[in-house]
């Protein structure tokens, strides 16, 4: 019992995740049924000749769209618990496979962009802290004020114009590889290319990644940077820092201490803009011809693919929820004040 009380903060937070996904799945289920158009008639219209009512009913059953909405909902829930999201109405492939064949490449892009943004943020934060140069500090501040403004695809267009059209240093933004097909093992293109030992393809993809990842880094660094600079400014005047100065702690250590303490303010924003990262990745993929998760969403809306769309929604939201969960947990771990139920035990 005492274990539970001490660890309640993360146990409760963790327990909420399946519930959230379940509720959201139900919302998605009803949402996609608002789509105009009937998937059965879409599927049948591609066949030639007249179609008998029996055939329509057969197709309906085959698609899992027979019975009332409630029957379908029960089946959907049942599938959800087993990790089965049904079969695509258009391609017939399991939705879960369709989603997971595309999701890793999107996540790879996001992770690369995030790592780059994080590193750039640390570098700029270091410059900001190390050099008291007014012009440098002002320019870092101005750059950080670009947070959540210019959309990532606009930055990418600028990069393409400069590095492809004018300078011609980088290849045309047309997919990950110019020839051949990507090997598929884990779904993460870079990892797969390394695993199959295909160094040529790996290099090619790496070069293709320069512009999209640079665009993401340039776009998302200010988000982290505003928080980080704010954190640095706050930490510098904290009593802790003053005490260290007064106690004659070496400068290097003071810097390190301030640097580390300000990092927790960066973690907070990760959860907040993960959604916009996915949105940004969708536009970037469409711009560079990568064809990731966003293309699946557009396709399933256009082809009235109920199951694919609801599966797509559930997975995307689950990814976002998991990202938020991780950020929440890290935050609570770093800062006990954020743990729910803490104040009740204090008083």
């Amino acid at each position: 019992m005492s274990w539970y009380r001490a660890n309640r903060w993360w146990v409760l937070r963790l327990a909420r995740l399946p519930l959230d996904i379940f509720v959201f799945g139900t919302i998605a289920f009803f949402l996609v049924r608002l789509l105009p158009g009937d998937p059965v008639s879409v599927a049948i219209s591609s066949r030639s000749g007249t179609v008998s009512p029996e055939a329509i009913a057969a197709v309906r059953t085959q698609m899992g769209l027979d019975g009332t909405v409630w029957d379908q909902l029960l089946r959907f829930w049942g599938g959800l618990f087993q990790g089965d999201l049904g079969h695509s109405l258009v391609t017939g492939a399991p939705v879960i496979d369709e989603v997971f064949s595309r999701l890793p490449s999107t996540i790879e892009l996001i992770v690369l962009g995030l790592i780059g943004a994080f590193v750039l943020c640390l570098v700029l934060g270091f410059l900001y802290l190390r050099f008291a140069n007014r012009a440098l500090r002002a320019s870092i501040r101005v750059y950080s004020s670009f947070a959540t403004t210019v959309p990532v695809f606009v930055v990418a267009i600028f990069l393409i114009v400069i590095f492809y059209v004018i300078l011609d240093w980088l290849p045309a933004p047309l997919g990950r590889v110019s020839s051949g097909t990507l090997p598929v093992i884990t779904g993460f293109p870079l990892v797969d290319e390394l695993l199959t030992g295909n160094v040529d393809l790996f290099g090619e993809t790496l070069v293709q990644y320069i512009m999209p990842v640079a665009a993401m880094v340039l776009t998302y660094t200010p988000n982290l940077l505003t928080q980080y600079i704010g954190g640095l400014d706050r930490e510098l005047v904290q009593p802790t820092t003053r005490f260290q100065v007064a106690a004659g702690v070496p400068r290097k250590w003071i810097f390190f201490s301030v640097f580390r303490r300000s990092l927790s303010s960066v973690v907070v924003v990760f959860g907040l803009f993960f959604g916009s990262l996915i949105g940004g990745a969708v536009t970037i993929e469409s711009l560079f011809g990568f064809g990731g998760i966003g293309a699946l969403g557009v396709r399933s809306v256009q082809s009235v693919d109920f199951t694919a769309l609801q599966g797509f929604l559930v997975v995307v939201v689950a990814v976002c929820l998991i990202a938020m969960l991780v950020v929440d947990l890290v935050n609570m771990w770093l800062d006990p004040r954020r743990r729910p139920g803490i104040e009740s035990e204090a008083s």
């Binding site: 004020s145 510098l236 820092t241 990262l277 969403g297 939201v317 938020m324």
Partner: protein, 308 residues
Amino acid sequence: MAETLIAKTVQAPPRRPARKRFGWLRVTLAFLPLVAILVVALFAPLIAPYDPVTTVAASRLPPSAAYLFGTDAVGMDVFSRTIFGARVAVQFGVIVALCSTIGGILIGTFIGLSESSRGVVGWIGRLLNQISDYLIAIPSIILGIVVVGIMGSSDFALIVAITLCLIQATIKLTRAEVLRVRREAYLEAAKLAGESPLRSALVHVVPNSIGPAMRNMPLVFGNCVIILASLGFIGVGVKAPTPEWGYMISSALSSLMLGRWWPAIFPAIFVALSVLAIAYSSRAIPQVWPYLAANVKKRFRTERNSRA
């Protein structure tokens, strides 16, 4: 150098010095970017030399005196289209900002007031709060794709989609403010004066808690421009010939691969400029607002006194 840094920051906080000296210059500078966009949008037909949706010349002409930004793949004037693009963006921005602010204030007030109350009202409030929590979990572009897919591609669908993406912030801001106002003693006084809950909500709670939501409005406007351009870019935005920046960029990609950069770069520059301008104004206006309000009120009062 590092030593001076520590000494300096410990003596004086590195926060920007409080800006006490306001002037009309500052006020003008704060409003200028926003007003410039609005002016371009308003007077687009006067500024643009050609009709934005008709072919006026050969395709992909480079920029020249006659065609400032060149022509695009079907021979439409890129300059005219870009200028009219501001008009489209502003139209959507204003409507979405109004919808999400008014809707957000109403929903946020309802959630704030119904919180911790029992019965049906409490449940509805909690449900709305939960839904608005889920809304941030969905990336706005994904939400846009789905809503536009469901409602069909129309201006109304786009407005609904973008409003759904942006209303959450207004709801949260208003809710927090309502929760603060709710504890104020004047609500108790109103109750003791016999005012009904509905009346006191409309007369006391709403006017006293709309501040943050109103200050958030320029930001909603800016975000709307971003989302509209992004949706247009991936092909679920406004319909084809309409001069919308995101759609213009995506349709110019084929030209870009051929090395013709002008149809893509100019709308991109305008998206960036307008979004930065709105962001700047939305940060600067709240800073000069107290000065402006105080001066306007003073002027108004002296006028009234001189009349009396």
